[in-house]
Amino acid sequence: MTAVIEARGLRKHYHTTPALEDVSFTVGAGRIVGLIGPNGAGKTTALKAILGLTRFQGELRVLGLDPRSRRDELMREVSFIADVAVLPRWLRVSQALDLVEGVHPRFNRARAMEFLRRTDIRMRSRVRELSKGMVTQLHLALTLAIDARLLVLDEPTLGLDLLYRRQFYDTLLNDYFDKERTILVTTHQVEEIENLLTDVIFIDHGRVVLDIPVDSLPERYLQLTVTPENTARARALEPFYEREVFGRVAMIFEGRTSAELAPLGEVRTPSIADLFVAKMESGSRGARKEAA
């Protein structure tokens, strides 16, 4: 696997508050990686480090370049959407096209126009006159018309309604993604992108708590919805998380096999959203126990 991003021992503190603590991960080419974590987990800090927008300690190579010293060069190959609210409000749509065409050697104006033709966006409109969904479409049109090897998305659909969120990811998959390109995305709306992801990285309190290809999840994690009479036996197998739903108990296990769990109830692979909640809550409980 060709590494697009290689991070080793990233550390970053805001005054005394740790944002990244010894974070290491690798992102390969042609992957769609979800960097997922609760608020304040360090996701945005990690992305800013990857984009050369913040100082940090540790080793980081993005497309073989150090973002600290070669950010401008890197941004020719990397596209970035922070969130849709960052397009300047005074900018006209036609000016946005002129602007990106004027400064970006890999921008294809015809391609951007092709995207925009499928929308109601008018060339004379200013960004402040567009709805939030339209601003997203414009930003996406500008971004996807750049022949970039890495696309970084930080909460790209924040504040959008379901329709625009679905369109956003559909466009991303249909019009941008291929086996040569890589997408790194952070979002709170895990359930919306879990079917797109090839890899997930969970981050919490500045530390990576899980880094796994999605297709490896069934081998490593199983969710058991256990019948009441088998609850004690299931707990003996040491689930790292459990919750009660409608009188039934759902448990998540790491490193158990279907053969071990099937006699105790219904077994399936946990969704990424379920696994995320399980990891975060079990981590919090563990931290509370340690503190006590």
Partner: protein, 323 residues
């Protein structure tokens, strides 16, 4: 994203191939300069409004400009008319440059701050443009585009104002006060041009400080660039009974003009010895020397300071984000 297009055919046309396309760095810089003019529209709308007002005044002013008939013979003297013509050129530039100073001041304060205020800095930083080039484009607009754009507009205003006034004088709607004199015109414009070049170089440290403040100060840039110097003036005077900073500001205000002998030549000629001693405006201009200003070391030290401020602003912007 499946609704019909709203883009007109003219907008679909590809960008015109220009010489800029053959030179990507130049094209990038050109685009960044255009961006400044798109974002800060006051930079070009205000000077155009000033031009329009001055030309309107040329069309409508009368009454107060009536000649006292008892002095008519003096005003009709061609020598006097040329002087009036030359002085009118200077007078017409004053509103342009005063407005330019005001607009430029607000532009420089805002140029690196606005992108943080509206969070668009994350969009700008998603483009492959270095902080140095970004800051350079803003300083280029402040040092070159706006001042020389103002000069060009003032020149056009001079020409149109004179043409309108002459036309009105011919048809009897205005007093015949001015007489076109090509030598006086060229020499006045050349003097204004070199005066502008010297002004840009001499006052550039103020520009550098404003750009630096725009990059550095987290909020209320205007307050910082006004209150902090005032406090410095007050503190050094009251606490230390010194006035080094005040002297520095005063020197940076008018220290260069003594090198040109403008005050003694122009004002002295016009007020000190009386109108009778004035041979001609071109003759007065001949006594002004531009070159000494360019060999004033403080001029170039100021330029170095400005470049250092620009470099510092770029370094500060390097790790600035929307927070």
């Amino acid at each position: 994203m499946n609704t019909p297009t709203a883009i007109s055919p003219s907008e679909r046309a590809p960008a015109a191939k220009t010489w800029l396309t053959a030179n990507p760095p130049l094209r990038m810089f050109h685009t960044l300069v255009r961006r400044e003019l798109w974002e800060h529209r006051a930079l070009w709308i205000t000077p155009l409004a000033v031009t329009a007002l001055l030309l309107l005044s040329a069309m409508w002013t009368h009454g107060a400009m009536q000649i006292d008939t008892s002095e008519a013979s003096e005003w009709l003297d061609p020598q006097i008319k040329i002087i009036v013509f030359a002085l009118a050129q200077w007078a017409l530039t004053i509103p342009h440059y005063l407005v330019m100073l005001l607009v430029l001041n607000f532009y420089l304060i805002d140029c690196l701050y606005a992108e943080r205020k509206d969070r668009s800095i994350l969009f700008w930083k998603s483009l492959p443009v270095s902080d140095t080039v970004t800051v350079a484009s803003k300083m280029f607009v402040g040092c070159i585009v706006v001042p020389f754009g103002t000069y060009a507009l003032a020149l056009v205003t001079d020409l149109l104002f004179t043409a309108i006034w002459d036309l009105r004088a011919v048809i009897g709607h205005a007093p015949d006060l001015v007489l076109w004199d090509t030598t006086a015109f060229v020499k006045t414009q050349l003097l204004m041009f070199f005066g502008l070049v010297i002004s840009i170089l001499w006052y550039s440290p103020f520009l550098g400080v404003l750009v630096l403040a725009s990059a550095w100060v987290r909020r209320n840039v205007l307050m910082w660039v006004t209150v902090v110097p005032l406090l410095l003036l007050i503190v050094e005077r009251l606490a230390f009974r010194k006035h080094y900073f005040a002297e520095l500001l005063a020197y940076r205000g008018d220290g260069i003009w003594g090198d040109l002998h403008m005050e003694s030549v122009v004002i002295g000629s016009l007020t000190g010895v009386g109108r009778a001693a004035i041979a001609s405006i071109p003759a007065i201009y001949d006594r002004i020397h531009i070159a000494p200003a360019f060999i004033n070391i403080d001029l170039w030290l100021g330029v170095i300071f400005t470049v250092a401020c620009g470099y510092a602003a770029a370094r500060i912007r390097r790790y600035r984000d929307d927070t």
